[in-house]
């Protein structure tokens, strides 16, 4: 079975994002594989151990994204595909078109894994968009995965810790959440081996995806306001607790609970 894993090259979550006007930001910062995509890749690798076949890591992004594909190869993907774009932000619908075309050119997917969302644009829709274009079922937020023949069983978390078990038929798209597994760390020999694996670069222009598909445009990035340093209370626990409650009551932040709550 051929398993595709869609990954994204994103700024390290601890990096300081400096907006430079419009959708532009200072990109001279550390980039990593989108954390959810590590879980997607790990599940693909575990599945390959059982079913055999091939794991193909695929990304759409600027040329620098090849570095994250290399990481995927070091973790154990067999080969990589980079759909090269010019802009940093490509909206989810356009990205889904690019990934779909590249996948269909490459072969028939048995399974497709993605992260449930990226930590840069936090769109939370790529798995759905890709599934709709491929006309296959999709479940995101997966915290458990199993496959038997064509039957895929996913567990996903609802609000408040409830869980749903969903069955669907492969091929399908699975959006990985953090609870799914613990991603492996590549060793030095893995990294050496990854250098010999192939990355195929497809220019966006080679794909029959017209311009102007984008439905969401980033107009501006604004630094989020920090709330700054607040009031620091010191003293004995009882005194601090009383003082805090008084302050909260003054601001009407908690009166309803004091009245007996909801």
């Amino acid at each position: 079975m051929r398993i595709y894993v869609c990954i994204k090259h994103v700024p390290d979550t601890a990096a300081n994002i400096r907006p430079l006007g419009g959708p532009v930001f200072d990109e001279t910062i550390k980039f990593i594989m989108n954390p959810y995509d590590e879980h997607a890749l790990e599940e693909a690798l575990k599945t390959r151990e059982k079913t055999g076949g091939e794991v193909v890591a695929i990304t759409a992004g600027r040329e620098a994204s090849a570095a994250t594909l290399r990481t995927a190869l070091a973790m154990g993907a067999d080969r990589g595909i980079l759909v090269k774009t010019d802009a940093y932000f490509t909206d989810s619908l356009e990205t889904a078109h690019l990934l779909r075309q590249a996948i269909e050119r490459d072969g028939a997917p048995g399974l497709i894994f993605t992260g449930k969302q990226s930590v840069d644009s936090e769109g939370m829709q790529l798995p759905y968009r890709l599934a709709a274009l491929l006309d296959v079922p999709v479940v995101a937020d997966a915290v458990a995965f199993s496959i038997a023949g064509d039957l895929v069983t996913i567990e996903r978390e609802g609000e408040g810790g409830g869980r749903e078990a969903i069955e669907m038929s492969a091929p399908c798209v699975v959006g990985a959440a953090r609870g799914l597994n613990r991603p492996r760390c590549p060793t030095l020999p893995d990294m050496m081996k990854a250098k010999k694996k192939g990355i195929r670069i497809i220019d966006r222009a080679e794909l029959a995806v017209p311009d102007g598909l984008s439905k969401v445009e980033v107009l501006d990035l604004q630094p989020a306001a920090d709330r700054g340093c607040g009031v620091i209370l010191k003293g004995g626990p009882e005194a601090m607790a009383e003082e805090l409650l008084m302050l909260l009551e003054e601001k009407k932040l908690f009166s309803r609970e004091a009245d007996g709550g909801r």
Binding site: P11, T13, A14, I17, P19, P35, V119, E122, M124, Q125, Y128, R129, A131, A132, P137, V138, V139, D141, E157, E159, G160, G161, A165, I166, E167, M168, R178, G179, K215, V216, E217, V218, L219, D220, L221, Q222, P223, A224, R227, C229, G230, V231, I232, L233, P237, E238, M240, A241, L244, L245, L248, K251, L253, F254, E257, A258, D259, G260, G261, R262
Partner: protein, 321 residues
């Protein structure tokens, strides 16, 4: 006139509270006509609460709950969007809301923004978090209908009573054979839903063990709060991943957020920075969280949290008396 639909999530016959924030936001559109959509065979029981917030038509999207399947529900909702010629469909970006709205947007090839912090329903410009909350992105949606999910608790619910009409639509949706919910395991009873909670208390690694979370649960019981945990506490096995607050866990936006023994990493803030008031309890004066909270209590959480529980209980008793 602008026709705005609101997908109304319900649980055991009760509309989720955050939905009324979405209804209030919908009403602000130019000459808005607000349609509330409930996945139910009859919507009469939802008429009163929804008309209180200015909904004009309460629409039951019937025949999609047995058997329930997310793709079938999405298809039915798509038909409703077409039939009512909606300019926009709003919902709450809860786990179920995000899933359904994303399915609808994907089937329609329509623009989607989830977890919105601000909306302008005349221009299609929305604000939402980017880069784990480090920046706020201003987005322009292009082409109708706009599909929008609001972050719970960010949009206030304001009543605007009127008479609503109840309708039923029964979209001719075939049951697709390729997806089915096989089992639903409900959450433990008594817990307050984290994503929509008005008050949240979370513990970090400093809590030290799963058993020690009991002191947070006791405080939560008096506060009417949901209990969460930092990634460090989850990784250490003190709490399940389902209650993790932060970038790779849940996003919460409560009125009051109490962080106990949490240093305050960027990743943690990504999940709670839109809380109205952040209170930090930590014994390390150098903890970064003290630099970005509203109130900081410098002390041992094992002393401060029980003291807080006692102080809250005293107040409650004196009010009840």
């Amino acid at each position: 006139m602008t026709r705005i639909g609101v997908f109304c999530e319900e649980k055991d016959g009760v509309i989720k509270k955050a939905v009324f924030g979405a209804v209030t936001a919908a009403r602000r559109a130019h000459e808005a006509e607000v349609y509330a959509f409930v996945l139910a065979d009859d919507a009469e029981m939802f008429r009163l609460p929804l008309q209180e917030y200015g909904v004009e038509k309460v629409v039951a999207v019937a025949g999609v709950n047995a058997p329930a399947s997310p793709d079938r529900q999405a298809e039915a909702l798509c038909r409703a969007v077409d039939d009512f010629r909606l300019d926009a469909l709003l919902g709450v970006a809860s786990a179920a809301g995000k899933d359904l709205l994303a399915r609808v947007a994907s089937l329609k090839g329509a623009p989607l923004a989830l977890d919105c912090l601000e909306l302008d329903l005349s221009s299609g410009i929305v604000k939402k978090s980017h880069f784990s909350g480090r920046t706020t992105a201003v987005l322009q949606l292009k082409g109708r209908p706009w599909i929008l999910g609001i972050r719970p608790n960010v949009f206030p619910a304001v009543a605007a009573p009127r008479e609503a009409e109840v309708l039923t639509c029964r979209p001719p949706v075939e049951a697709p054979q390729r997806m089915a919910i096989r089992e639903i395991r409900p959450e433990a009873a008594g817990g307050v839903d984290l994503s929509e909670a008005e008050v949240v208390i979370t513990g970090g690694r400093a809590v030290g063990s799963a058993d020690n979370f009991q002191i947070l649960r006791e405080c939560a019981a008096v506060l009417g709060a949901a209990v969460g945990a930092s990634r460090a506490a989850v990784d250490a096995g003190f709490a399940p991943h389902a209650v993790q607050v932060g970038q790779t866990g849940k996003t919460v936006s409560p009125r009051l957020y109490l962080a106990c023994g949490i240093s305050g990493s960027v990743q943690h803030f990504a999940g709670m920075k839109t809380a109205k008031c952040i209170v930090a309890i930590n014994n390390d004066p150098e903890a970064p969280i003290f630099g970005k909270c509203d109130y900081g209590l410098l002390g041992d959480l094992f002393e401060v949290v029980p003291a807080l529980t006692r102080a809250l209980s005293r107040r409650k008793e004196s009010k009840d008396a």
